[in-house]
């Protein structure tokens, strides 16, 4: 504390004693700071505006990142970019979780969002070494289930500590996987996701066709329907992280969280696990343009609430959502014809005969995590209501039949 006071005091003294805000003066206190070559010739105050008795951080979004945007005006859009606002995610979380936990987003999702230019443009947490971000910087957030890690050959792992091993990136363990061919050839994320594109709210600046023209001599390419109706990644994505059932267990009061100590704990109140999560060939769906594209669960959220010694909610399914996505695991090699044309499972077409897993026996209200139709006719917990409804229905049918029978000439009895 003493040291800080001293620094602040000297700082104020310096400011008062001199009107020149040249670099040397800042350096008297901040002597450890060296600015990277690109910004070396600029005086500190060019970026750091005065505020009160001192200066504001240059790159913070909450100050409008004025220090940076003064020169880099064309990236002003970053202040409104999805990476910063996370509007869609917040909206989704609100829809799904709000009635069970209004603070869900703050507790479990707050870890990843851009708040400052230097979140990406620093070098090893050194804010003044301003650099063009490499792929590893993106992985600070884009790890585990989120696209980015897959590009570098990092797959997901199961949630239990038995499987928490292998390659650790941003506090998450990953499975070694075949990386994207573009990564192997040395392309960083920025090659396709330029600053311009991010600042203008686009997902990318380049798509496959900007660089590649499909060779029609390749058998699969010679089929017109393939090129017209399918995304390249539908065949060329080698694998994708897929999580069936995202289980959230919320603990309130003196509930025993330690019963679940072997699985992940994203925040103090929560444990998180999944029915199955691994890296596999992606499922296929249809996007809004009618194109066949990879899809994956995002998310089948299942919520349990344990308050003190009782279970208030048990495996309540809050959402059963599959989402279109672009696996960044592109290879020259592709999945074989039969993995689509002979494989109902790829399209989430539910087939009871070939079913192996029985989630309905495990306490789930559906028969499969891979069911495009997702329907269970008679849920256990609704059995009484079902029987009651069926009885009423049967009653009505019987009465109708009787009524029909005594119509017209049969009704002569009354005369």
């Amino acid at each position: 504390m003493k040291k800080y006071l001293m620094t602040i005091f000297t700082g104020i003294l310096l400011i008062l004693s001199s009107n020149s805000f040249a670099k040397e003066d800042c350096g008297e206190c901040h002597e450890e700071i060296t600015v990277s070559a690109s910004h070396e010739s600029i005086a500190c105050i060019e970026c750091h505006e005065p505020e009160g008795d001192h200066y504001v951080p240059a790159a913070d979004f909450k100050n409008g990142a004025k220090g940076c945007l003064k020169c880099h005006e064309e990236y002003t859009g970053m202040l409104e970019s999805p990476m910063h606002t996370r509007d869609k995610e917040k909206h989704y979380v609100k829809n799904v979780f709000e009635q069970y936990d209004p603070d869900f987003f703050e507790k479990n999702c707050e870890g990843c969002h851009v708040n400052s230019c230097i979140d990406c443009h620093d070098d090893n947490n050194n804010a003044h070494k301003i650099t063009k971000p490499e792929t590893s910087v993106c992985l600070k957030c884009h790890n585990d289930y989120f696209i980015g890690a897959d590009y570098t050959g990092l797959g997901i792992r199961e949630d239990h500590e038995r499987y928490q091993r292998g390659i650790k990136v941003a506090e998450q363990y990953h499975q070694a996987m075949l990386p994207d061919v573009h990564y192997e050839k040395g392309l960083d994320c920025g090659e396709c996701h330029s600053m311009e594109s991010l600042a203008s709210g686009k997902k990318s600046s380049k798509v496959c066709n900007d660089c590649h023209i499909p060779d029609k001599n390749i058998l699969e390419h010679s089929i017109d329907a393939h090129l017209q109706k399918m995304a390249c990644s539908t065949c060329h994505a080698a694998w994708a992280p897929v999580e069936y059932g995202t289980f959230w267990i919320k603990f309130e009061g003196n509930a025993r969280k330690d019963y679940f100590k072997w699985i992940k704990s994203p925040s103090e109140d929560y444990s998180k696990s999944s029915y199955k999560r691994y890296n596999r060939r992606p499922h296929i769906g249809v996007n809004e343009k009618g194109i066949y594209v990879p899809i994956r669960p995002m998310f089948i959220n299942v919520f349990s609430l344990i308050r003190n010694q009782s279970a208030m909610l048990e495996n309540k399914v809050l959402s059963y959502d599959y989402k279109v996505f672009v696996p960044h695991t592109i290879r020259r090699e592709t999945r074989l014809c039969a993995t689509c044309h002979e494989n109902k499972e790829a399209f989430l077409i539910y087939d009871n005969a070939s079913r192996i897993f029985m989630p309905e026996k495990d306490g789930m209200p559906f028969k499969s995590f891979k069911d495009g139709e997702k329907a269970i006719w008679f849920r256990k917990e609704y059995r009484l209501i079902d029987i009651f409804t069926l009885l009423i229905f049967l009653g009505i049918v019987t009465l109708t039949v009787i009524a029909y029978f005594f119509r017209g000439e049969f009704w002569q009895l009354t005369i």
Binding site: R162, Y163, L178, K276, R277, N315, T329, R332, E333, F357
Partner: protein, 610 residues
């Protein structure tokens, strides 16, 4: 005469119960009789002094404490009457664990040609040669230690008194007594009520139920789980069950979830309805491997494409089915035409009557008609005589990929064989658990069968100073750092087989994992990698520039990878399967001459083969 016999028995029972002034039951009031045949004085089995009033005096000299069937004393107790059974059990592979020990040593590159067992075993092998197997307690290699500290908790001679749903007593009681999930006694003896570790009650299982098999067979191959339509998943502990991890728990805080149930279980069959007593309790000979002791296969009951099950009529009064079925719900009669096991022994509950084959459930007496497959087209497909039945009829085969074993010399752990804590502790981590599809290779019989990692061990050794002297070390096996796969029947049989297309068009069955293919570059690879070697983890091979690379091998003697030609013919069959979808299509009965058929009048215009 008969009257006299009963009078004698009555006299004996009365004498045993009342005439003897037993003080045992004055404390253990209400304790159950083990069975009708065991209604005699407690001291007959337990030893001790049944005239003493004080507990300490009465309990002095008891055989084996709470468990008189413990191998340390079983010669004086169970073996006194059941000499024949005891002599067999002493050499059964479930007691000696010879195969498990040998394969652990082989997997860890520690095998030096010598066999070991849980105890010093001197007996005879099936050729009549005398065999002296050394006790594993003397083994000094790391493989011996991992067996003693990990695997040995599951053998018939081990008194396992901890772990939820994992208790079993040593010796005969391992199978013939049931234990509650909690390990507590829940019978009527007021002294023991609620205490642990004890058997669930004092009543014995004359015919052991599946619950006792599950006590051990819930790990590694996990066949007791798979058979019952269960799997211990990914330990994810969800879906929750109330305030606890769910849906069900088993030892090691693993959660059990549900799969399709084995077809045999679905019709009511227990483990013992297939497995004969000679397989479980041994037949008196020492065997090196489990598969040598096993005497049954699917074909023993269901026949094969060209043969019906073999039978033999009971013509001797001492034929095993006659005395083995004595405590079944229904007894086998003299003269019955019994079905034979692969070793030519009679099943004691499978027989032929009026041209039909039946299996009788041992515990309930219910008859099940067995369908045989002789002369069915789908079982006479050319080349498929090389398949095991369960190659097509397995619904799932549990596969644990990447077994990262850590040996930490800084810590201590229990050596179950030596019965004391010693230096060094093993722990395990895993990469991936998969179920379907599963890779195929050639098993010890020369047949194409499912294989499962067995084991993909990567060993890390942490020395006392904390330095890793080995880091994810892969042992040498069959000339090189190969991953090991073992032929395996997963015990999750389905009536519906994997379809022709499902197998021939899915390269995972051929051993290429989650295959991705470039016909142009002639590459086939699989994306899940071993971080140590960089090779595909879930595949047996890959193809690069048209060249087949092997990085896995099959562990058993005489077993092997399918190899180039077999894979080629498996994939080539797609030329026909694309149109002729079903195995019962009669075109598959003989060898396909692709050149001739595809160039005939019908096919010439459809395909263009070069």
């Amino acid at each position: 005469m008969s009257f006299l016999k009963y009078l004698f028995i009555l006299f004996f029972v009365v004498f045993a119960y009342n005439a003897s002034p037993s003080t045992c039951v004055s404390c253990h009031e209400g304790i159950e009789a083990p069975s009708k045949n065991h209604e005699f004085a407690c001291v007959e089995c337990h030893g001790g002094d049944n005239t003493a009033e004080k507990k300490d005096v009465a309990h002095k000299g008891m055989h084996g404490g709470r468990n008189p069937s413990d191998p340390a004393v079983w010669g004086k107790t169970c073996g006194k009457c059941h000499q024949y059974q005891l002599d067999r059990v002493k050499t059964t592979i479930m007691f000696t664990n010879t195969g498990m020990i040998k394969n652990t040593q082989k997997a860890w590159d520690d095998f030096e040609g010598e066999l070991y067992a849980t105890k010093d075993t001197v007996s005879y092998d099936v050729k009549g040669e005398k065999i002296d197997i050394k006790p594993i307690a003397g083994g000094e290699k790391m493989a011996d230690e991992v067996y003693r500290k990990f695997c040995s908790a599951c053998h018939v001679g081990f008194d396992r008194m901890e772990g939820y749903r994992a208790h079993h007593s040593a010796g005969c009681a391992a199978c013939h007594y049931s234990h509650d999930r909690s390990g507590k006694y829940l019978g009527n003896d007021k002294q023991l009520m609620g205490k642990q570790p004890y058997a669930k009650t004092h009543e014995m299982n004359i015919l052991p139920g599946d619950d006792v098999c599950l006590r051990c067979h819930n790990r590694s191959g996990r066949i007791a789980l798979s058979y019952d339509g269960k799997y211990d998943g990914n330990n994810s502990l969800v879906p929750v069950s109330g305030i606890y991890p769910g849906p069900e728990l088993i030892s090691g805080v693993r959660n059990i979830r549900h799969t399709a149930v084995d077809i045999h279980k679905r019709v009511g069959m227990d483990c013992i309805d297939c497995h004969t007593s000679r397989e479980l309790m041994g037949d008196g000979y020492v065997y090196e491997n489990m598969y040598n002791q096993v005497e049954i296969s699917c074909e023993s009951c269901h026949g094969s494409g060209d043969k019906l099950p073999e039978t033999k009529r009971i013509t001797a009064e001492n034929a095993p089915p006659l005395y083995e079925s004595r405590y079944y719900a229904r007894q086998i009669a003299y003269g019955t035409e019994m079905v034979l096991t692969d070793k030519g022994n009679m099943f004691s509950n499978v027989f032929k009557k009026d041209g039909k084959y039946y299996l009788m459930l041992k515990r309930s007496g219910k008859l099940l008609e067995i369908s045989t497959i002789k002369n069915t087209d789908e079982h006479n497909v050319y080349g498929h005589d090389r398949l095991e039945c369960y190659t097509c009829h397995s619904k799932m085969v549990v596969q644990c990929y990447g077994c990262h074993t850590i040996y930490d010399k800084r810590e201590k752990s229990m050596d179950w064989i030596k019965g004391k804590e010693t230096e060094g502790k093993f722990s395990e981590e895993e990469d991936i658990r998969l179920y379907y599809p599963f890779p195929l290779a050639v098993n010890q019989k020369g047949k194409i069968a499912p294989v499962t990692p067995g084991c993909q061990t990567l060993l890390t050794v942490i020395e006392k100073n904390g330095i890793k002297s080995k880091d994810d070390y892969i042992f040498d096996f069959k000339k090189g750092k190969n991953f090991k796969f073992a032929p395996f029947y997963g015990h999750n049989t389905g009536k519906n087989a994997v379809s022709c297309r499902g197998c021939h068009m899915n390269l995972a069955f051929a051993g290429f994992g989650e295959a991705i293919v470039s016909t142009d570059k002639q590459n086939i690879t699989s994306p899940i990698l071993c971080e140590k070697t960089g090779n595909p983890l879930t595949a047996l091979y890959s193809i690069k520039d048209g060249k087949l690379n092997r990085f896995s091998q099959i562990v058993r003697d005489k077993s092997d990878l399918m190899g180039r030609d077999m894979i080629k013919s498996m994939i080539k069959a797609n030329l026909c399967i694309t149109c002729h979808e079903k195995g019962d299509d009669n075109i598959y009965g003989e060898k396909i001459d692709y050149e001739k058929i595809l160039n005939d009048d019908i096919h010439r215009d459809l395909v263009n083969i070069k």
